[in-house]
């Protein structure tokens, strides 16, 4: 039984399009969780500061703090696991195919012949976890295709492969 079936929210029903073949690194879960922790610590912290500094903190502050704490914990627990089930990638001889998101999911498909550049980027948290984000840009002004949460070595390999195939493919990519 797949692990996710225990959580109804996380189940990903199939449709006419199959999921890309490869999972992202397991450490990406930790990365997403850390990002969420940072967000909620800031939000709760701000409320804490108001409560500590103000002589007569407003009554509703207590409610918002409780709500933020509950929603925050749920977000930190559910979001990374859900994302890990969704985020996938695949490169074939003529296309890059990715799936990302959680509540709203996004499939991206870019033909190799239209790729202009392939880069990797690593934020501070990602460096800590040895993760990389691969960004594939095409001639479109709207949104490059990104694969986040890849193992740094895997990312480097993808960049090498894609660069090689892109150079071998003719066309001015517009």
């Amino acid at each position: 039984m797949p692990a996710g079936d225990t959580l109804v929210l996380v189940s990903e029903s199939e449709w006419g399009l199959r999921a890309p073949a490869n999972l992202v690194s397991k450490r990406a879960v930790a990365h997403w969780a850390l990002q969420a922790v940072v967000l909620w610590v800031v939000l709760l912290g701000a409320q804490g500061v108001v409560w500590a500094v103000s002589d007569s903190p407003p009554r509703w502050l207590g409610y918002t703090a409780v709500v933020s704490a509950v929603v925050g914990v749920a977000h930190i627990v559910v979001m990374p696991l859900w994302r890990y089930r969704v985020h996938r990638w695949e490169t074939t001889a003529d296309a890059v195919f990715t799936r990302s998101g959680w509540v709203t999911q996004e499939w991206r498909l870019a033909p190799i012949s239209r790729i202009q550049t392939v880069d990797t980027g690593r934020g501070p948290l990602q460096q800590l976890l040895k993760l990389s984000t691969v960004t594939v840009t095409t001639a479109s002004a709207r949104g490059p295709v990104t694969i986040e949460g890849l193992d740094a070595d895997v990312a480097a390999r993808i960049v090498d492969e894609l660069s090689a195939t892109t150079q071998a493919t003719p066309g001015d990519a517009t």
């Binding site: 006419g16 399009l17 996004e106 498909l109 870019a110 002004a141 517009t174």
Partner: protein, 499 residues
């Protein structure tokens, strides 16, 4: 062996550095000062002539003139065999160069100041998308109109088949005086009145002007104070409507005077228009990826439409992608067919509608914001003592939003021809986009939680031209995947699950 084709007309490229036309020393400050004219006028005539006002005014004019001189001195350009180079900038030096074989569009603009001296600004665009504004674009502001025309020939020459001298082009469309009736059907008049009033109020505030000393204004305010609101509201509404009609007519004429759309032998389509500022935009037909037909609600009631080009290398600033200004829909459709060189325009193609589940989504998405709005007004009534008629009146919006939702579904749809992918959407701002299938350079498929439950998704065509992404909302799962597969063969098929 057949004989070789005749060599293209040789237009000499200047390899040494050139400066912009010296008349720009005068023209640039002139254009700036023309824009500041209302402010200067107010400064001098409406205020009391204190010394500091005169000093500030003179200093501002002086700085503008000095800046004009310096920017002429620091700007130089050259056109080599492979590159267009521009060095400019008074405080920060900028060097920009673009490869000539990347040039896709050449856009000539002459503001009023330019026209007095027979000059024209040349804006050269590449197909590159702009990561930051201005990237991939070189603007030579300005050279003589003759030089501008020569540069256009030089830049777009690569593709030319021997262009006859003084090629006037084949006329595709020109302005018809009767089109002016579509001018008031845009909100531009209302918006410009709003901006003008806001600007004047702000100016009056800043300069501490004494409006009350002007007799006319005092009488108007006196009348406003005395009159009952039952006459005040209709009179004000009437005045605003009349003024906005006049303003939009004026705007239409200013922008579209002498509008002219022509096709030229060098493989370009050229749009010329404008009264005070004239624009001439050349679009390389090879780079044209499609057209969009815009029918906003008001324009639609008179069966009017606007046509824009979807092309690489043009940004949307200043409406440089406009092909037909507000005009009869039939005219816009005829031009669309002509420009795309097809017999009937793909935008008039019969549209396939989406599953009924999409209708529920359209209605929900139209009604929910209205419900929230009404609830907020009700909340304000309870908490902040707002009068109850406010939220009661807003209840009218609920049935209206249901109607909007129904109409959105009625309009929503897509079509596929052998060359174009067509999508139509929108009630308030209806648009029909026809995108060349070969111009699609990727797909984005978006499924929200609710879309997944309803077995719908949004298919977005990614392209290098225009907006860069053109969505088709709420396609049925199987329907949408079939469209994506058919529109771009051999891309998505490898990932489809065979039934």
């Amino acid at each position: 062996m057949t004989s070789l084709p005749a060599a293209p007309e040789y237009v000499e490229a200047a390899p040494e550095w050139g400066r912009l036309d010296p008349r720009m020393i005068v023209v640039r400050p002139l254009n700036e000062l023309l824009g500041l004219l209302p402010a200067l006028f107010a400064l001098i005539f409406l205020g009391n002539a204190e010394t500091w006002r005169v000093i500030v005014g003179a200093a501002a004019a002086g700085v503008i003139i000095l800046f004009g001189l310096l920017s002429w001195l620091t700007t130089k350009y050259r056109i080599t065999d492979t590159q267009v180079e521009l060095h400019h900038g008074v405080i920060v030096r900028r060097r920009r160069s673009i490869p000539r074989d990347r040039i896709r569009t050449v856009d000539l603009t002459a503001k009023l100041g330019h026209r007095l001296f027979g000059l024209s600004a040349v804006r050269v665009g590449t197909g590159q998308h702009e990561r930051k504004p201005g990237e991939g674009v070189v603007v030579l502001d300005a050279v003589t109109a003759a030089e501008a025309d020569r540069l256009r020939k030089v830049f777009l020459q690569r593709t030319s088949v021997q262009a006859p001298q003084g090629d006037a082009g084949t006329r595709l469309s020109t302005l018809d005086k009767r089109w002016c009736r579509y001018a008031p059907l845009s909100l531009s008049g209302l918006v410009s009145i709003g901006i003008l009033v806001g600007f004047l109020m702000n100016l009056a505030n800043e300069l501490n002007l004494r409006f009350s000393e002007v007799g006319l204004i005092r009488r108007v305010f006196g009348w406003l104070g005395r009159t009952d609101w039952t006459t005040l509201v209709p009179v004000t509404a009437g005045v605003v409507v009349v003024l906005s009609v006049l303003a939009s007519l004026l705007g239409y004429l200013l922008q579209n005077h002498n509008y002219n759309l022509t096709r030229h032998h060098d493989g370009t389509v050229r749009v010329r228009r404008g009264l005070l500022t004239t624009r001439s935009v050349s679009i390389e037909e090879k780079r044209l990826r499609g057209v969009a037909l815009h029918q906003p609600l008001l324009l639609r009631t008179a069966d009017g439409a606007r046509l824009t080009a979807i092309t690489t290398g043009l940004n949307r600033q200043g409406g440089s992608n406009l092909l037909v200004p507000p005009a009869p829909r039939t005219e816009a459709e005829r031009v669309a067919a002509d420009v795309l060189a097809v017999s009937t325009t793909p935008t008039a193609e019969p549209i396939t509608s989406h599953p009924l589940r999409a209708r529920t989504r359209r209605i929900v998405r139209a009604v929910v914001p209205t419900v929230v709005f009404v609830a907020v007004l009700y909340g304000l009534h309870v908490v902040a003592d707002w009068p109850s008629w406010v939220w009661l009146l807003s209840l009218v919006l609920l049935p209206l939003s249901v109607l909007v939702g129904l109409d959105r579904y009625r309009v929503l749809g897509h079509a596929l021809t052998d060359r174009y992918l067509i999508s139509r959407s929108g009630t308030l701002d209806r648009r029909t986009v026809a995108l060349q299938r070969t111009g699609i350079i990727g797909w984005k498929l978006t499924r929200t939680l609710f879309q997944r439950r309803a077995h719908l998704f949004t298919l977005t065509a990614i392209t290098a031209a225009g907006n860069g992404a053109y969505p088709i909302r709420d396609l049925g799962d199987a329907q949408g995947l079939a469209v994506a597969d058919e529109a771009v063969p051999d891309l998505i098929r490898q990932f489809l699950i065979k039934p």
